[in-house]
């Protein structure tokens, strides 16, 4: 199965919408000194629903978009979310067969929190000061709480993005194996 042109267009629309919601709305909601993160949820949901390659690609795109809004090294989110999308698919594969109600939400929350931690660690490795500090705890809690609320929305959005189109396939992306089969 490949990712069709309509899927790419839907992905662009979802990433843009998520970025605007992040910058205009979610950034205003500060809890424990941090705000919820919609962009990491896109990578997590794509990995869970679409497999490792699609997860990584969506994570890379969402990360590049997210990096436009911050003044940290450009590409830091792209690198982190690529790994998040890829890793989410493997976690989903490991959890396959235990399809309990809400298990995908638990996965999204776990991956979002893990992704935020990974972002801080990679930032610290790149020499950015203050990336791993006591404030990180607040960020992990807030991103986790935000993922509980926004995770289902991200899953619905990514299911729509990755849905097969009726028309002919466009730009081909090798299928990385869906964890949600």
């Amino acid at each position: 199965m490949s990712m069709s042109l309509p899927s790419w267009m839907r992905l662009g629309a979802v990433v843009l919408a998520a970025l605007l919601v992040q910058v205009c709305v979610l950034d205003q909601i500060v809890v424990f000194g941090a705000h919820p993160d919609a962009m990491v949820l896109l990578a997590a949901a794509a990995g869970i629903l679409g497999g490792p390659v699609r997860g990584a690609i969506v994570g890379f795109g969402a990360g590049l978009a997210a990096d436009l809004a911050v003044r940290l090294p450009y590409g830091l989110s792209a690198l982190t979310f690529t790994l998040v999308g890829f890793g989410a698919a493997y976690l989903a594969t490991a959890a396959a067969g235990r399809d309990l109600p809400g298990s995908r939400i638990v996965l999204v929350v776990t991956v979002a929190v893990g992704g935020t931690l990974l972002y801080g660690l990679i930032g610290a490795v790149l020499g950015q000061p203050g990336m791993v500090s006591s404030a990180l705890g607040g960020a992990l809690v807030t991103v986790g709480l935000g993922a509980v609320v926004l995770g289902p929305v991200a899953l619905v959005a990514l299911r729509w993005v990755l849905a097969p189109s009726a028309g002919p396939a466009g730009l081909s992306v090798p299928h990385g194996g869906s964890a949600s089969a």
Partner: protein, 280 residues
Amino acid sequence: MAATRHTSQRISLLMLVLASVTIITLDYHGEASRAIGHVRDAFADAVSPLQRGVQAVLHPLGDIVSAPFHYGELQTENDQLRAEIGALSRELNSQSYASNLEREVQDLSNVPFAGNLPVLPAEVIAPATSNFQPTIEIELGSSGGVAVGMPVISDKGLIGSVTGVSGSTATVLLISDPRQMIEVADLAGDRFSLKGEGPGRPLQLSSFGATGRRPKVGTLLVTEGQINDEPASAYPAGLGVGTVVSSRSLPGGIVTGTVQPLADLGDLQIVGVVQWPPTA
């Protein structure tokens, strides 16, 4: 078959990771970094009207969502606020919100510690855009005379410096960020450096080498400005930064301690950009 698929997946991952690392590397160097900066500035310009509109409409929503998580803090604040209600209600009777805001802007323009330096008042349109960098976005950019490196104050004291400017907005890195290092002095002339320790935490104080005196609790620290032939300072002299909360002398005469910023960095609405030439 499965092995081939796994290899293909890993190659895809490797390519995306390499692409990300390349972009990060380019951002650290010269022309590409400037180009990325322009794209970021264009994005900031494009979203700022939307940000401003949504902020005006949804500002109370953020407070409502945040409130349950800060219950204890809010109770203490509530007690203080009750004590202020009388005074505020009298004030509200005589002045509208708009004129209060105007007065706040006027106060800012006449901040005594800013001396004769021109101060450009600006409204805060968004709090930090990253959970890893304490910043604010203000509704004044290069078209309004703002440049990277300019100090930013509230009516209480220094809050940070401009780190990014688009045509209509600017990003201010707050003094609580560990990237911020400020040279300060007390009234006795003893020099110290202050370093951010993250949002909501006091600044870290340390002396320049061995010093005989340690500042007392409550001592006001102000920016030191340029001294003789030393490299140009990032801040003009005399901007109030904070008061000493604790200090101690270490063996060898080194002094360390903590400093509480004068301004409430978590509640900024109107700030002033000091037109101080940024360091080269």
